[in-house]
């Protein structure tokens, strides 16, 4: 015998959002970093910018700061939008920082700034789901081997260099 019941699930509401146009080349572009104050986050993203500079001439770096689990301020978004041609956002090496890394990147993309979301590989699937639910399923990601916290700056830079090809690919550099 069976019984008819109502199911507990509901429809979802996702407003599709357009990503910023990607640059044809990195040459001369001004990099940006939006770091979320997680240990080693800024070190990681600065290592990537340094790595990019080894092969490509880049403009001045601008660094914006935000808290781990909350959105960046309007002033921080204004700063990065005004001074950067692309921005690395991160780092998501835990759950809540992952969520607000994605949401911060969405905010910059909507302002016309190409971004790359960065995180550690154990949260790869959640990054993708978060981006889809934020209406930006094609967001660009680069992942390093987990963990990022609790390791030396040298180990951070080594992880960044290992993932540098992924960063170039995420920036859509031919």
């Amino acid at each position: 015998m069976s019984i008819q019941v109502l199911t507990p699930f509901t429809n979802i509401y996702v407003a599709k959002k357009a990503m910023a146009p990607r640059p044809a080349s990195l040459r001369g572009l001004r990099p940006g970093i939006l770091e979320n104050s997680k240990p080693n986050a800024q070190t990681l993203m600065e290592a990537w910018v340094d790595g990019l500079r080894e092969t490509t001439e880049l403009g001045e770096l601008t660094i914006g700061h935000k808290a781990v689990t909350t959105p960046p301020s309007r002033q921080t978004l204004d700063l990065l939008q005004a001074n950067c041609d692309f921005v690395l956002v991160g780092t998501g090496d835990c759950g809540s920082c992952m969520a607000w890394t994605v949401r911060s990147a969405v905010a910059l993309e909507e302002r016309g700034v190409p971004t790359v979301c960065t995180g550690s590989h154990v949260f790869r699937e959640q990054f993708q789901l978060e981006a889809e639910h934020c209406g930006m399923p094609n967001m660009r990601f680069v992942f390093i081997d987990h963990p990022l916290g609790g390791i030396s700056p040298a180990a951070v830079r080594a992880k960044a260099m290992k993932a540098l090809p992924d960063m170039l690919a995420a920036l859509d550099v031919p």
């Binding site: 019941v5 509901t10 689990t69």
Partner: protein, 352 residues
């Protein structure tokens, strides 16, 4: 934004009518937390919705991470599953509205590896109407309204928000407080104004506040006879390291659930709630030099300075204080997640 969002009717399904077979099948479909569930028949769901006086398709919010549209009907289905009775439903609807407020920061709450739970604190008037318990054993088992409302809020998170352990809810270890966490304040025994009055509501308001709280940690003091003595114990227990409030004291709202006897002792010394809050800010601190250099270095970007004694809050208003529980000389401390605030929702009951 909510005005532009449509809530579609939930779907129907055929499941076995045997109680155990129904619960097992519902579990396989991802509807439950593993405990048995009540079949949400159309009649039961309809009765639940009617108790709220709300329309079935009223949208209460959009819940991260799944971006699920949470309607009154969807909440009612989960309420039936969790074992709620219609008299519980207005409290649950208000709790859902509370966690959908931006300040609650559901995207972070559900994604975090931190074991944050949702403590539903019910005002006295609403608790009397719904049968929410405020006395002995208030945070534990034994009280249908407390357990069913708390559990239903978690099931809404499962189904609508998509916050399942390991996928959507990324808590490293989770917490038993995530199963069900609902209580009422001891309005008959608090020496201070009701908690909800601190949010600008009348003392007899129908209201809930949902806190982003860790599971409670006990503070026992059977000896102190003055506020000064007792608060030294309480602040000493709150000022330990390892919780989020000591990492980010500028934004967290740590919670102190004061036991009735402790509250009487504190009030007998002439202390107000504000005195308790101020004492916690001044004395709930951890010695900086007992922390390791690497951890301290990680705090520097978050703070202008690292004083010798690290506080868990910077202003008295951050410290949330209410009175609950039964006889005994115990209070409880609940650190909070940090980048999220408690949210309060009040309503007018149908009978008024």
């Amino acid at each position: 934004m909510i005005a532009d969002i449509e809530a579609r009717p939930v779907e129907t399904a055929e499941l076995p009518d045997d109680p155990l077979a129904f619960s097992i099948e519902a579990y396989k479909r991802g509807w439950t937390d593993g405990l048995p569930v009540i079949p949400p028949t159309p009649e039961r769901v309809k009765a639940m919705i009617a108790a709220s006086g709300r329309d079935w398709d009223e949208v209460l919010g959009v819940m991260a991470p799944r971006s699920g549209v949470v309607s009154v009907e969807a909440v009612a289905v989960n309420a039936v599953l969790a074992g709620c009775e219609p008299l519980h439903f207005p409290v649950l609807v208000a709790a859902v509205e509370a966690i959908c407020q931006p300040d609650f920061n559901l995207a972070a709450i559900n994604a975090t590896t931190h074991p944050v739970a949702m403590l539903v604190l019910v005002s006295d008037a609403a608790a009397r109407a719904a049968g929410v318990h405020s006395g002995a054993g208030v945070f534990g088992p034994g009280f249908r309204a407390n357990i069913c409302i708390g559990r239903a809020l978690r099931l809404v998170q499962y189904a609508v928000a998509g916050a399942r352990p390991g996928a959507g809810d990324l808590a490293t270890m989770g917490s038993p407080a995530k199963i069900a966490f609902c209580a009422a304040e001891r309005a008959d025994a608090t020496p201070w104004e009701p908690y909800h009055a601190t949010k600008g509501l009348e003392a007899d308001a129908f209201a809930v506040t949902v806190f982003p709280a860790e599971a409670p940690s006990n503070i026992q003091d059977h000896a102190s006879t003055t506020a000064e003595g007792l608060m030294a114990t309480i602040a000493g227990a709150m000022g330990h390291c390892g919780h989020n409030n000591i990492v980010a004291p500028h934004k967290g709202h740590p919670i102190l659930a004061v036991g009735v006897e402790h509250a009487q002792t504190i009030a007998a010394s002439g202390w107000s709630r504000a005195d308790v809050q101020a004492y916690v800010v001044e004395h709930a601190k951890f010695p900086r030099d007992r922390l390791g250099a690497e951890f301290l270095a990680s705090l520097k970007p978050l703070r202008k300075e690292l004083p010798e004694l690290l506080p868990i809050a910077q202003t008295p208003e951050q410290v949330q204080v209410f009175v609950t529980g039964g006889p005994g000389k115990h209070s409880m401390f609940m650190p909070t997640f940090g980048g999220t605030l408690e949210c309060t929702v009040a309503w007018t009951p149908k009978s008024r």
